[in-house]
Subunit: 148 residues, 2 copies
């Protein structure tokens, strides 16, 4: 296992540099994203935002997510079934394992898989722009058990 440095991405600077105005709603949303440990969807971000500034609208959340995605500040995930979920783009690349029972999202990374993907694409004559690897599963139950 390796440590992940809990770097708080300097969103505002990044955005200013991209010519984006730093408004009140955006500050709120950015702060929520900056210290979100999970992968919230737009509605969840909206709810958290309202706690800080009750004037924020859901439209603005959607617009802001699209904007942040556009400048590469966040990643959008479309996990099976549900709405888009987001996470800051600052962290190292990783893929996800979704717990079908609880909805928990577990992150993992396999350099070997990444390499194999490149290899496959190359053989097919392609360059990978991005990819999506999601494992859907359930907690392994102890093999000999009597509990429900």
């Amino acid at each position: 296992m390796n440590e992940t440095l809990p770097i708080r991405p300097d969103y505002e600077g990044e955005l200013r540099k991209a010519g984006v105005r730093i408004t009140r709603p955006r500050k709120v949303i950015l702060s929520i994203l900056a210290d979100a440990g999970d992968h919230p969807d737009a509605l969840e971000i909206f709810k958290r935002a309202v706690e800080i500034d009750s004037g924020i609208s859901l439209s603005t959340v959607y617009r802001t997510m699209k904007l942040l995605e556009g400048v590469g500040a966040i990643h959008r995930h479309a996990f099976e079934g549900g709405p888009s979920r987001f996470e800051p783009a600052g962290v190292e690349h990783h893929d996800h394992l979704i717990d079908l029972d609880t909805g928990d999202v577990i992150e993992f990374h396999s350099q070997r898989i990444e390499e194999l993907q490149q290899e496959i694409a190359r053989e097919l004559g392609y360059d990978i722009v991005h990819h999506r690897l999601e494992l859907y599963g359930r907690k392994r139950r102890a093999k000999a058990s009597r509990g429900g």
Copy 2:
């Protein structure tokens, strides 16, 4: 235009065994799926169905896709952006590479990746129920070229 609807016999039997009524719309949809070489979405299946039987409705296509998915006869893919796309479940498992320029869907399979996924899930204490691996890329351009 066409004579008999060449429904894959095992396909229909599979459904009967699952207690599903074989109706005219279902026969049409099944035949379309059986010899679809691509990964059509509901609307595309609907269009193809209408050519055979103009009375079929889009609702029925959606309902049938859900039913077929439920009994495991087809797989649903939710590629980036677009609507759900489908393919018969009979073929060997494979994953997909989507050409970002043309929309082409290329199938591939890596036993090594499949194994690594299992390994990762196991380490995290999970059993994989299913997974999704999609590569999005563009055709590799020859390094020294003058063509468009």
